[in-house]
Symmetry: C2
């Protein structure tokens, strides 16, 4: 149950990021264990709960750096907060508008057919399907 940081250290180094105490704690929460969908606030709360003092500015910095390096992907589903996804491969989401819960649509349960070409002079950068659901009565 120990040597807990080796994997995460490598992951950060490969991304060209120094494995600092803060980034290690954040990366461990994000990448050790299954795929996750998080916001800056929830990640900040988790890292504090794990007794690592990290500022909110650093959480935002890390989320953006991880995203730029391809370790995370941003999912836009709510105009009031940014969500980040540790699963960077192409997949789609359920978003519960009442609870704010973001969850994956299992692969194969949805597919987009006959993708349109990008308008003239533009280049495609991603395709996202969001299936919105409600849980409140």
């Amino acid at each position: 149950m120990d040597r807990p940081y080796t994997g995460v250290i490598e992951r950060l180094k490969n991304a060209g990021l120094r494995p600092t105490r803060q980034r290690l704690a954040l990366a461990k929460l994000l990448f050790d264990g299954g795929d996750r969908h998080i916001t800056a606030e929830t990640l900040h709360a988790e890292v504090l709960a794990a007794n690592v003092r990290v500022s909110l500015a650093t959480v935002y910095n890390a989320l953006h750096q991880f995203t730029r390096s391809g370790l995370l992907r941003e999912v836009v589903v709510d105009s009031s907060r940014a969500y980040f996804d540790t699963n960077t491969s192409g997949h789609h989401h359920f978003f519960d508008e009442d609870t704010g819960d973001l969850s994956d649509i299992p692969d194969g349960e949805i597919s987009v057919s006959s993708l349109p070409g990008a308008p003239a002079g533009k280049v495609l950068s991603g395709v996202e399907v969001v299936v919105r659901v409600r849980s409140q009565q």
Copy 2:
């Protein structure tokens, strides 16, 4: 070329909204002419340019009331601003991440197949496909 408000007055009354000077001006900009994609700021600028004094708070109020009444639909594509669409029927969007341009994907050029059922205890409320494009370089 006159009696310019009759259509819009009916539309507001049917939605249970009093046809005030402000709502008439906003509804005219929104619904007279083709389908539109707008933000609160752009609509506010337009209404001022048309020489009708309307506060930004009223623009936000109207956008939300129109949305609740089904005259508009909100499209979530950018975590920093809310877009509203005068076309409330089911259709999908291109979003240019460089310019902020939101445009419709022509009907038939895309389709989502094998829609998943909503997770247990949840009810489906919408399906949105966003095709992100870039125009810079």
